[in-house]
């Protein structure tokens, strides 16, 4: 049996944070939930226990404490909040996997607000130089977490990062959540992944997929 991993989800009451938490109860994980809305957090915790009675999860009142206790930290916060979070957790994130899920989209969803030569993933790595940042879950809609099979295909979840061991560990989490993990490459691939989400969001709006859509590489 794989050893239990303690995973802090910072921003667990967001759509993505909640969806990731619900997916991760499938694995041998201990979840530490942090969010700003206590009522929503309690609701999420009850929902997790309903899904799996012996779920090992609890609400933690401080993002630093949650990250300190964690083996893996999921920064399930918007791009605009990443820098502040990084500042808070820097000292306790050394050596740990920090998952960046954000997409630096403009308010009208028409473009990325990052410069072309960088990405949210790379910026988080710069802010947390001693952590192992992995870009993951950023190309998946929160609504797709309940329906990871679309048109008979298991949706892909792309990951990028500079540490091979960290990539494999995150790939394992993605499998537990129900997606098909695809390692894209080092962290510079975050730029491509974040642009893929920009495209997916716009296609979703234009064609009315209602979030039931995602990327899939077809291959033999």
């Amino acid at each position: 049996m794989a050893a239990q991993k303690t995973i802090a989800i910072i921003g667990a009451t967001g759509k993505m944070g909640g969806a990731i938490a619900k997916g991760l109860v499938n694995g041998p994980n201990r979840l530490l939930l942090f969010g700003n809305n206590q009522e929503k957090l309690s609701g999420l915790l009850s929902a997790l226990k309903e899904t799996k009675r012996d779920t090992d999860a609890e609400i933690i009142g401080c993002s630093v404490d949650a990250s300190w206790e964690a083996d893996i930290i999921i920064a399930a916060v918007p791009y605009a909040a990443e820098a502040t979070l990084a500042e808070q957790i820097r000292a306790v994130a050394t050596g740990k996997i920090v998952i960046s899920i954000s997409n630096p989209l403009s308010a009208d969803f028409c473009r990325l607000v990052t410069e072309p030569g960088t990405s949210a993933g790379e910026q988080l790595q710069e802010l947390l130089p001693h952590a192992r940042v992995v870009k993951a879950f950023s190309t998946n809609f929160s609504a797709a977490f309940n329906h990871t099979d679309v048109s008979g295909y298991k949706l892909d979840a792309f990951i990028a990062g500079n540490d091979d061991e960290a990539l494999l560990e995150v790939a394992e989490l993605i499998t537990e959540v129900g997606f098909n993990p695809v390692i894209a490459g080092d962290l510079t691939f975050s730029r491509t992944l974040e642009n893929m989400t920009l495209l997916l969001i716009n296609a979703n709006i234009r064609h009315g997929y209602k979030g039931q859509a995602g990327w899939k590489i077809l291959h033999n």
Binding site: A3, W68, E69, V92, G95, K96
Partner: protein, 212 residues
């Protein structure tokens, strides 16, 4: 704002500066004085990790990926025999290091379990981090050599003790080398560490049975 709240805010603002590495740096400096710059480099290699009571740091069959330094709390390492009996190899209090060196160095699965006897604050070092740290701060080679020396001596003493000492001698030696252990470790675990039955330990602890 109350003083306690102000202090908490202060500590929260600088979580790494004061309390997370306090004991580690103190222990290193006792053996090998290092500069503030070298301390700062050291801090970038340790994984700060909280472990709750009864949680595992290592489970039998897994590879031991870390050496752990105990900033706060207490760890133990133990094996479980075919009958399900636990045999405690080592306790680690504040300021002590613990790992399964064989598994850590060879990446072979461990035969030990390591778990927390109290809520712990640990500093974990992986093999690659250790190697890189020793390149960046070569003085620490001496620190780790002294640690290994002490550990070897402790193991030799424990071996002699377990082969040739009476239960009472073993117990007295443990109390002498780990003052306060009797207050923090349950009696059956001390018995397990000494390789005697809890009943024997209980008899030894009874003042009426004490040989003066």
């Amino acid at each position: 704002m109350k003083i306690a709240e102000a202090l908490q805010l202060f500590l929260w603002l600088i979580p790494d500066a004061l309390y997370m590495f306090e004991l580690l740096l103190q222990k290193i400096n006792e053996k090998v004085p290092i500069t503030p710059e070298e301390s700062a480099v050291c801090k970038t290699f340790f994984i700060p990790k909280k472990l709750r009571k009864k949680q595992y740091l290592l489970q039998e069959g897994d590879v031991c990926k870390y050496v752990a330094f105990v900033e706060k709390g207490m760890l133990r390492s133990y094996t479980v025999d075919d009958k399900g009996t636990e045999h405690i190899m080592q306790f680690a209090f504040e300021g002590w290091w613990l790992s399964d060196q064989f598994s850590f160095l060879t990446a072979e699965p461990s035969v030990y379990n390591i778990d927390a006897l109290e809520d712990c604050e640990l500093l974990l070092l992986t093999k690659p981090a250790e190697e890189e740290m020793l390149v960046r701060v070569p003085k620490l080679e001496r620190y780790f050599r002294l640690l290994l020396q002490n550990s070897l001596i402790a193991i030799q003493r424990r071996l002699v003790s377990s082969l040739s000492h009476t239960a009472e001698e073993k117990y007295r030696q443990l109390l002498a080398s780990c003052p306060g252990i009797a207050q923090r470790v349950p009696q059956h675990m001390m018995a397990s560490y000494l390789g005697i039955t809890p009943e024997t330990l209980s008899r030894l602890r009874n003042p009426k049975n004490r040989k003066v």
